[in-house]
Symmetry: C2
Subunit: 337 residues, 2 copies
DNA sequence: CGATTCCATGGAATCGATTCCACGAGTATG
DNA sequence: CATACTCGTGGAATCGATTCCATGGAATCG
């Protein structure tokens, strides 16, 4: 199957390659007839410009890279969707890289993206060093999303990891909870670290119990949420409320409660992160700390466009807010005695 | 920021561009010294070959396109992950295109993928005609996944849309259900059509009620699942069991039951499609019709590699099996009276 | 020992689109 | 009426890597 090139179009239209190119890329200096002839020929032949050749000559590829830890995580799925739609509206393609929560795969994708000469990268980075350094030193515009690296000065859009958690802890203590278990995210990510810090601060501020055993360190995956729930519920003096640092771990933790016949909203209060569709499944509905994921994605793209255009946008945080639902009722003191 | 090219590497190593290229692409006819010098220079300079230039000269891009209706659908999220990981193992990048359940966006992405000269495309197509025709006529290897188009002769890997549904209906009737509501997928997709047909066949085979009003046509999105549940439950003679054609519509439908205080597994039997993680949230656990999504993704990639290699693999179906859990208990006849 | 093969190598062509430059025709200006 | 200017156009250079082809030196064979 021979690909048709601009040369074929030019010949069919009876003009030169240069003129054909000018018509097809909307250059103003073209005559009415040339335009008509070339457009007709291109349509008739089904001409489709070779993006490789074009990108080689121009230095732009109209492509951005999006580097995420895992698309199967609903949070990142939604984020990917938001980024992709926004990028599309700017005429950019999105090249997804799924690091699979794995630094080596992340390095590999950074490599590919640099080779593909993407015009910019939006990344939720994990670890530091490796090819991440090279990416930043390469001069390719980069915006971090959801997670940041303290060691690197890069514009970012990240969730507010403080307000929501403070509000959640305040809410729980106001309802009589003193033992609030926390299923934390990995401490190798800024989001994991900040949320854990906020939880500790909030405990201190409200006077709730601060035993170290109330904290379980997970990895943002469902299995670790399940393990966390088991560990915390098996404590000699178990928590009466659980707070989980992301949606997948919440899914795992709720699954364990279901297995054990622990009724969320009655036997145990539960606060999750992220207000994802799937939480519709649970009854009573979950109290969550929600961030506007769509806004995060859009903002990340807008900032990247600004960087590509030579700007240096300031970093942003996306507000987190507590949405109180049925999973965090009043705690009945008498259960303890 | 000047990009370093193979010319720079060649000069630094004291050899010609041709030799440098040979060393870097592992051509056998290279001397020990040349190899050492070039590799050292490439490493020192941090050389990263320009993928555009390479693809232009070779005719291969080592990239496949993956065209899906919506990554936010857990089914397609899992599928995307499976495809991407498998493609990676063959040394291929995956270019995602999110059609957003929208034929125009699908057309746009087909356009981009053809321009990018992807080596092959894996697609879950919607509608027919449009650029889909052009894609197939272009000679680019294509494999359909999850959905097929009858009008087009293309290797595909699709779920078995019959066995699981027959088993589910048999299971429900055996437990005393005669009125089984069905929330169908869009009839513009083969999966939607086949599952509806299987449902009708199964009703006929088991002697369950076959009122047309027991069928609600949804669109594979959560909102339509909710609407379907409302419509069916509001019937004068409502179903005692619900069957939904995908996971998102199940999420929507279950949400409505929760709102209305209808206890799934007690007041209403429920069978969902796809055994996704998020279903852990619900208690009692859902009876589902499950397909091995990972296997589907892997197989699609393997078949595409075969087509790229000049083969013409036969189409495959992935078995669907009923996994019985707590959401489909015995139906208590006396409730009806 | 002369003829042939083999191998590493560099120069040049190549992939397909864009763009610089030069040119001629037509129009406006002094 | 001559000069300057604009405008559409085609030829040729260009982007960066790969690959064909020719070359010279070393190795092999009769």
């Amino acid at each position: 199957m021979k690909q048709i090139t601009i040369k074929d179009v030019a010949e069919a239209a009876g003009v030169s390659k240069a003129t054909a190119s000018r018509v097809l890329s909307g250059h103003p200096a073209t005559s009415q007839e040339a335009r008509k002839a070339v457009e007709a020929a291109a349509g008739r032949l089904g001409f489709r410009p070779n993006a490789q050749a074009r990108s080689l000559r121009k230095t732009r590829t109209q492509t951005i890279g999006l580097l995420l830890p895992d698309v199967r995580n609903p949070f990142f799925g939604d984020l990917a969707h938001a980024v992709e739609q926004r990028a599309r509206s700017f005429g950019y393609m999105t090249l997804f890289g799924n690091a699979n929560e794995n630094v080596e795969q992340q390095d590999e994708y950074i490599d590919v993206m640099l080779s593909q000469r993407v015009d910019g990268v939006i990344a939720a980075p994990q670890g530091d060093g490796g090819n991440l350094d090279q990416l930043l030193r390469s001069g390719v515009p980069v915006v971090f999303v959801d997670r940041v690296l303290d060691t690197m000065e890069v514009p970012s859009v990240s969730p507010d990891n403080s307000t929501g958690i403070h509000d959640a802890v305040k809410h729980l203590t106001a309802r009589g909870h003193r033992r609030i278990g926390y299923i934390a995210g990995p401490q190798s990510t800024s989001t994991g670290r900040e949320r854990l810090r906020s939880y500790k601060e909030a405990l201190a501020a409200t006077g709730a119990d601060t035993d170290a055993e109330l904290i379980f360190l997970g990895d943002f995956q469902a299995a670790s949420g399940a393990e966390g729930a088991r560990t915390l519920l098996d404590l000699p003096n178990p928590p009466t409320a659980l707070l989980a640092a992301d949606s997948l771990m919440s899914i795992g933790a709720v699954g364990v409660c279901n297995e054990r016949g622990i009724a969320i909203g009655a036997d145990l209060a539960f606060v999750a992160h992220d207000d994802i569709d799937a939480f519709n499944l649970i009854n009573p509905p979950l109290t969550v700390i929600a961030h506007d994921i769509d806004a995060m994605g859009r903002l990340a793209v807008d900032m990247l466009m600004s960087v590509i255009g030579g700007g240096s946008p300031a970093s942003n945080t996306i507000a987190g807010r507590l949405i109180v639902r049925g999973s965090t009722p009043e705690f009945e003191k008498e259960r303890q005695s």
